[in-house]
């Protein structure tokens, strides 16, 4: 996989402290890491290591206490809530372990959600929704409700939703955690396919097996990056199987 040398995500000395009346807990401690544009990176670590905090900060869902964070060449360390919402909407696609589809919206409307907040014209939205559902192989299920789909299909809808807005960065948080191994494999295939089209993918997982499929592994333990042995890895071409 070729990608430019520009950094998509650069964190320097980021600390995040959770305070209660009695104690202070460091969730991240002077964490520094970098993800290049077009990379497929897996962030792994045991539970409680700070993976989720990293993901929340990377996705601009949470603020941090010290350090700087550059996303796609722009310093996003101290932005207003509105500006961060805008960046989430335009630059980032989220994929969650529990899919987080909106249960009373059908598939079409679920993929529509981020586009709505971008105030896109109806025709443009439709085009994007259809093409992203096409990509995940669910174009025929547009009018179905999430509850009418299998777990794997739901996660594919979530992926369609994540890519519909054409983001620069996909953040996936244990995307296969609720799926059996066959479905998990399909989801990973999809992520690789998306990465193949140029989108940077950061996969957060505690599953070493899964992490190995990424180009590069970053290991977080106790809120710091342990080390990041860069493993050159080229994904094997796979047969696209959209049918379940």
């Amino acid at each position: 996989m070729t990608h430019s040398e520009a950094a998509m995500l650069r964190m320097q000395n980021i600390s995040k402290i959770y305070r209660t009346e009695l104690i202070e807990t460091y969730a991240l401690r002077e964490l520094s890491l970098e993800v290049k544009e077009g990379e497929f990176v897996a962030v792994s670590g045991p539970s409680g290591s700070g993976k989720t905090t990293f993901l929340n900060i990377a996705g601009l869902l949470e603020t941090f206490d010290t350090g700087t964070y550059e996303l796609d060449g722009r310093d996003v360390s101290r932005l207003s809530d509105d500006a961060r919402s805008r960046i989430r909407n335009e630059k980032i696609g989220f994929i969650f372990q529990s899919f987080n589809l909106i249960p009373d919206l059908d598939i079409f409307d679920n993929v529509d959600v981020p586009l709505r907040y971008r105030r896109m014209k109806a025709a443009e939205r439709r085009k994007r929704i259809e093409s992203s559902l096409e990509l995940v192989g669910l174009a025929a299920r547009m009018k179905h409700l999430p509850s009418q789909l299998s777990g794997g299909q739901q996660q594919r809808v979530a992926i369609a939703r994540a890519i519909a807005g054409d983001p620069a960065l996909i953040l996936a948080d244990e995307p296969t955690g609720n799926l059996d191994s066959l479905m998990a494999r399909q989801i990973m295939d999809l992520l690789e396919k998306i990465n193949g089209m140029g989108t940077t993918v950061v996969l957060v997982t505690h599953d070493a097996e899964l992490a190995r499929r990424a180009e590069r592994n970053i290991h977080i333990v106790d809120g710091v990056v342990l080390d990041s042995p860069s493993q050159a890895h080229s994904p094997q071409p796979r047969a696209e199987s959209a049918a379940d």
Binding site: N56, L61, S85, R88, F94, F96, I102, Y117, D173
Partner: protein, 443 residues
């Protein structure tokens, strides 16, 4: 985005139909209670001639007993009516643009074509100025002339109702009719004129503050000319035995209204009253403190406590009820919105701003307010019909004023819808503040 939010609101209602019905019901009941009480209250407190509020004045002077105020609980209040002496003197002034004396006498009307028996009638004795000052609408003809006031000429104006009864509603102007078995020429027939409250006469004569207006009108001087005892309200503080004595007495039985378009005219007329008062005082009258007053219509209505205590009480009760309904709605909305917090969190993660989440939920509240108001309006109209039925046979004014009153209802609706919206601000704000990361991991 409004269309999108509206669609989301509909989906939200469909998800929890029970809670939605509960909230709509609570809002509707609260609004209905406000519509009923506000309509009644508004109708009672209405100024039926608001457009002339600053030019029409009721005239009062305290001619009462030196030892005892007219109204012991309110010792500074003069009688609402004038004595014959004072009324006729003040009427002689040409300072006012228009002026009228008002009293009631009773009598019979007969001699209409095809009329079998005389009918009894409450007759207003007044002056031509009455019709001009109060913008009384005429169906046929018009007021009598100033000369007819002086004569007095035997001219009569009939109410629309009376004309319908006696002439089947035809134009009767020019006909002669027998008023108290004297021949009177009909010069005018009123169009529908039923000001509520009866601001022109709040003395309780002729059916009270919300009673029907007079059925016939003749020039004021016919009362004294025929020695007709006043049949409206009359108060005396010394015995009188004959009509002649009545005219010279301190009994009060005449209302006086004047139209004074400018401040200067108003001041001149007040000066005129004060000069008369001082001159009469030297002759032994007016031994109470000087209390010459010109009352605007709105002041006059307030002075006479037109809005009943029970109406005010029920209005307050309705507001308390609406408050409970709204608190209830806020509680349910808050619970409902917060239960949807994970979804709001997902939307935030997908790029919705706080303001967008807030707006989405506020639209939901607004739709609840709208639907609740619509049901509330229906319930309120039903409630008004109920109040009318309840008071159909009662001395109370409620039956009379509990009518569809556009302004009253508009007030109530606007107030209720707005307060619902305001009540919904807090839950919508709360859900807008939901931290986007908080629920994404939860299952």
């Amino acid at each position: 985005m409004l269309g999108y939010y509206t669609r989301l609101a509909f989906k939200s209602f469909r998800r929890t139909p029970g809670l939605t019905a509960l909230m709509v019901g609570a809002i509707a009941f609260g609004i209905a209670a406000c519509i009923v009480t506000l309509t009644v209250h508004h109708a009672m407190g209405r100024n039926p001639i608001w457009w002339k509020n600053n030019v029409l004045y009721a005239v009062t002077m305290d001619s009462w007993d030196p030892h005892q105020p007219y109204d012991p609980p309110h010792p500074n209040r003069a009688p609402g009516q004038l004595t014959y002496r004072d009324a006729t003197y003040l009427y002689g002034s040409d300072i006012p643009k228009r002026k009228a004396l008002l009293s009631f006498v009773t009598g019979t009307l007969s001699g209409a074509p095809g009329q079998a028996a005389p009918v009894w009638t409450m007759t207003r004795i007044t002056n031509a100025g009455f019709f001009h000052m109060f913008d009384v609408p005429f169906e046929y003809g018009g007021p009598w002339s100033a000369a007819a006031d002086q004569g007095p000429e035997p001219v009569i104006v009939l109410s629309r109702r009376e004309n319908e009864k006696l002439f089947d509603g035809r134009n009767s102007v020019g006909h002669t009719i027998l008023w108290n078995h004297l021949r009177f020429r009909i010069v005018g027939v009123l169009n529908h004129w039923d000001p509520q409250p009866r601001f022109d006469d709040l003395t309780g004569g002729g059916g009270g503050n919300f009673g029907r207006p007079a059925r016939a009108f003749v020039p004021f001087k016919w009362g004294p000319a025929l020695h007709l005892f006043p049949n409206g309200s009359m108060s005396c503080w010394a015995a009188v035995n004959t009509y002649r004595e009545l005219l010279g007495s301190n009994c009060v039985w005449i209302l006086m209204w004047v139209e004074l378009p400018t401040r200067a005219q108003r001041q001149r007329f007040l000066d005129f009253m004060n000069a008369y008062w001082a001159q009469q005082r030297t002759m032994g009258r007016f031994q109470r403190p000087r209390n010459n007053h010109l009352w605007k219509v709105s002041q006059w209505l307030r002075l006479h406590h037109i809005v009943s205590n029970s109406s005010r009480l029920l209005l307050r009760l309705a507001f308390a009820f609406l408050a409970v309904c709204l608190i209830n709605t806020v509680g349910i909305l808050l619970a409902k919105f917060l239960r949807g917090a994970p979804i709001a969190g997902v939307r935030r993660a997908l790029g919705a701003t706080r303001r967008q989440i807030f707006a989405q939920h506020l639209v939901e509240v607004a739709m609840l307010a709208l639907v609740g108001s619509a049901f509330g309006l229906l319930l309120g109209l039903g409630g008004l019909a109920g109040v009318r039925a309840l008071y159909a046979h009662s001395y109370s004014a409620y039956g009379k004023v509990a009518h569809f009153d556009l302004i009253g209802i508009a007030w109530a609706l606007a107030l209720a819808a707005l307060s619902t919206l305001v009540a919904g601000l807090y839950p919508a704000w709360r859900i807008g503040r939901v931290a986007p990361a908080r629920y994404l991991k939860s299952q």
